[in-house]
């Protein structure tokens, strides 16, 4: 157990190092010289203007951009190891603060969306499987296909149109109380509900064909007990993996939805920082997102044995 934990911790650190290194070096292959782009943001506040050569040189001096990439990376990594992620050159605020301020918004939105997909996706998936090839099944499956194929920005605008403009039930944009959360969460939740629903259905169908279900029926178990302890439980394993992935994806930010709803999430922070080449913030976001994915993987792995004791045995 302890060995397993240490092994995982090792992999965890390795992934962190690889992802930040990759991102750091990939940033340099972006079009537009870094110093020029930064000079635009620092000196002109407008990407549509050109900075002067002195301004570009000043940026190079201030941020030490004339050094080799390797030495730039090493000094960033050195500071990061000491817990210092640096400052955003755009806002002058520490990177940790930039991320922390957006953390509640990001986590709330991701959590509620995933919760929604659980509450809708799993029951509908089970229903569709149990009533395979019935009208209910077709209805559920069609809805799911619709949910997956609808572009989420379009769904977002449609939801605003109906619930904010026509029915006047929700605010259109912004971040604040529960009411602001509904539309973005429903938008994001719809697609994941559809994914979860389809997965639950197919996994449930698969399980219901297994011999042990037939055996359970044969020994006279009640429908409820077959459903709860045998079929659903086994069918949920792939679903849980998927939920973990969806959750991680949502924590990484959903730029389009955050933009439409003016939602202060990590996604927008990351995209804005990439266009401004705000390297400390970009690296901070990448660290955060990797960290979140890893933590989720840990959690999911910890949940598996609860559902399927065979997994814990190894």
């Amino acid at each position: 157990m302890l060995l397993n934990f240490i092994k995982r911790l090792g992999i965890f650190c390795l992934v962190l190092v690889i992802s930040t290194t990759l991102v750091f070096f990939m940033l340099h292959s972006l079009p537009g010289e870094k110093a020029v782009v930064m000079a635009k943001y620092i000196f002109l506040g407008n990407v549509e203007l050109n900075p002067s050569n002195e301004e570009i040189q000043q940026v190079k001096d201030k941020f030490d951009l004339d050094r080799s990439l390797m030495s730039q990376y090493i000094s960033w990594a050195g500071a990061a190891l000491h817990g210092d992620l640096g400052k955003s050159y755009q806002s002058n605020d520490p990177v940790s603060e930039e991320i922390l301020i957006r953390l509640p918004a990001t986590i709330t939105l991701a959590f509620v969306s995933v919760l929604m997909s659980l509450f809708i996706g799993i029951p509908l998936g089970v229903l569709a499987a149990v009533k395979q090839n019935s009208i209910t099944d077709y209805l559920c499956s069609t809805t799911a296909v619709l949910g997956i194929s609808m572009p989420n920005f379009w769904l977002a605008l449609l939801l605003i149109l109906v619930f904010s403009l026509k029915l006047n039930l929700t605010p259109t944009i912004g971040y604040g109380g529960l009411s602001h959360l509904i539309l973005p969460a429903v938008t994001l939740g719809t697609a994941s509900s559809a994914v979860i629903m389809r997965l639950t259905r197919s996994s449930m169908l698969e399980v219901m064909r297994q011999d042990y279900i037939r055996a359970a029926r044969g020994k006279g178990l009640s429908g409820r007990s077959i459903f709860l302890t045998h079929s659903l439980r086994n069918a949920l394993i792939p679903v849980i993996t998927m939920i973990g992935l969806e959750f991680g994806h949502l924590l990484g930010g959903t730029v389009i939805i955050e933009t439409i709803f003016a939602w202060p999430g990590i996604g927008r922070l990351l995209i804005d920082s990439i266009s401004a080449r705000d390297i400390p913030v970009i690296q901070g976001c990448v660290l955060f997102i990797t960290l979140m994915y890893m933590l989720l993987n840990f959690t999911i792995d910890a949940v598996y044995p609860l559902i399927d004791p065979r997994i814990g045995g190894n």
Binding site: N50, N92, D93, V126, L169, F227, L228, P264
Partner: protein
């Protein structure tokens, strides 16, 4: 068996449905607005309120003021300073208005001005470059001298720039300012970084009388045009700008809204990648291209009333230093074809594309996606070029990726956001666009450089403006260095009961006015 199964699934569904409907109804919050309160939905983000970094926004929302300011008819008018005069070729003396009070009630003195400007320039290098200030010295409590790096007749105009606003130095422990204390008609109440929302209240002490609105809320960062449109329709914001181009007509027909379309000092233009290299080193080719652009159809069919075809000068009509005698190159396909022919570009192989020495006139038109009209304008120009035998491909990419491609043969930009009044003085735009040392498209005309240098140190306003007018004649008519397409107009949408907004085209993109009230 089936019965039980359906029952449990049914109850799960019921719970899910209840949860969702509960959350829906719990949010039927009536959006109450007090009588004289305005909620503004702003396109850009803010991020922090330290005036060293953000006095531009604070200035647009009437919190911060500068030594001078600029009126809607482009005149430099007194603000915190009553008067100013040059006291030498590189020095200006400003006399402060003695009745100015900060939002905390304390009096504004020369010390405050000196320390605010020094702090801004130290923390925000962009301002240093834009203000051209070398040294600021206090003469007495209400007088100060500003020395410029180079002899600079434009300093009083530069002091009207939003980023040169004056504020009190009330730094927190970490050296930043989180509660700006300024002098404007509205005072800072709070700022929430997570929701990027700024709350303002009226300044009862304001020297020209308190504004009519009691409170203003600015919600920054509503970057999506559709989202802004729906926010104003649902009443969540009372004032916003730039809804989608295609929605203008529909919004104008909405009885609950006011739609105000007004001039802005911004435009669209065609910019050559490199005028020192073929094919654009040939003035005839540049002129042919200028003749080939149908500006009226772009203004009418793409900008849909939110713009106006250019007359050949990119500077905004109404500016005192604008040369109104530019002939321009009005749409004329035949002339364009003739000029191309004279330059040696003829269709010898009958494929519809002109060629010269075996090289076909195939180019790429680059533009970027952030300004909604740009891709459509590029497509229109693409088809207009076809008429004169130029085969253009439209490519839409990020600004910085485009500037990497300036070396490509025949590349051209369709540019927007061409702002000629960031600082209310001709020097800023004209030097940036046409002074050879600044030209990223390698335009070089010794006469132009010479006129610009003369203008820098000419303190007589008429003579100075005349020099800039000569520059405009050369760059637009004689050299055809850039091809102006259209002026961009700003679309402001407010709730019907929002009255008293006075457009000020100088601000980017707008500035609320202290006369705004709710009817």
């Amino acid at each position: 068996m089936t019965k039980i199964r359906t029952k449990s699934i049914g109850s799960m569904l019921l719970i899910a449905a209840m949860l969702i409907s509960m959350s829906f109804f719990s949010c039927m919050t009536a959006l109450c607005s007090s009588d004289q309160k305005l909620v503004v939905g702003e396109v850009w983000t803010m991020g922090s309120v330290d005036p060293a970094m953000h006095s531009y926004e604070l200035n647009n929302f009437l919190v911060a003021e500068g030594l001078t300011s600029i009126s809607p008819d482009f005149k430099i008018v007194p603000c915190l300073a009553d008067s100013w005069e040059t006291s030498g070729s590189d020095s200006w003396r400003f006399h402060l208005n003695k009745d100015i009070k900060f939002h905390d009630g304390s009096k504004l003195t020369a010390d405050d001005v000196v320390s605010a400007l020094q702090r801004t320039m130290k923390m925000n290098p962009s301002v240093t470059g834009q203000l051209n200030i070398k040294k600021i010295t206090k003469v007495d409590d209400y007088t100060l001298d500003i020395t410029t790096n180079t002899s600079d007749a434009s300093l009083p105009a530069r002091m009207a720039y939003g980023r040169a606003s004056i504020y009190k130095i009330n730094e927190d422990g970490d050296g930043t300012i989180s509660t700006p204390i300024c002098t404007g008609p509205f005072k800072f109440v709070s700022y929430d970084k997570a929701s990027d929302t700024l709350e303002l209240a009226k300044n009862e002490l304001y020297r020209e009388g308190a504004p009519k609105l009691d409170a203003v809320t600015v919600r920054f960062g509503i970057g999506d045009a559709n989202a802004r449109e729906m926010a104003i329709e649902s009443g969540e914001v009372d004032f916003t700008t730039e809804p989608p181009l295609g929605s203008t007509k529909r919004l104008q027909g909405d009885a609950s809204l006011n739609v105000i379309i007004h001039q802005l000092c911004q435009g669209y233009k065609l910019k050559f990648g490199d005028v020192s290299k073929a094919p654009y080193d040939d003035i005839k080719v540049r002129r042919a291209i200028a003749y080939a652009v149908d500006r009226e159809s772009i203004a009418n069919d793409i900008l849909l009333g939110r713009g106006k075809a250019s007359d050949g000068n990119a500077l905004t009509p109404g500016l005192a230093w604008r040369n109104n005698d530019i002939k321009g190159y009005s749409y004329n396909v035949q002339k364009a074809k003739d000029l191309l022919g004279e330059a040696g570009w003829k269709d010898t192989d009958g494929d519809g594309i002109v060629d010269k020495d075996g090289k076909s006139f195939k180019i790429t038109l680059y533009t970027w996606p952030q300004r909604p009209a740009l891709p459509s304008i590029a497509q229109a120009i693409q088809s207009q070029f076809k008429e004169i035998g130029i085969d253009a491909e439209v490519r839409i990419m990020e600004w910085d990726a485009i500037s990497d491609r300036a070396d490509e043969w025949g590349m051209m930009w369709v540019a927007g956001g061409d702002a000629c009044m960031m600082i209310p003085d001709p020097s800023y735009y004209i030097e940036g666009q046409f002074l050879s040392s600044n030209c990223d498209y390698h335009y070089k005309n010794a006469k132009v450089d010479d006129l610009i240098m003369q203008a820098r140190s000419t303190f007589d306003e008429d003579k100075r403006y005349d020099l800039y007018k000569q520059v405009q004649k050369i760059v637009y008519d004689d050299d055809c260095a850039q091809v102006p397409i259209a002026f961009h107009y700003l679309c402001v949408v407010t709730k019907k009961d929002v009255k008293g907004y006075v457009p000020n085209p100088v601000h980017h993109d707008y500035c609320i006015s202290s006369g705004i009230y709710r009817e």
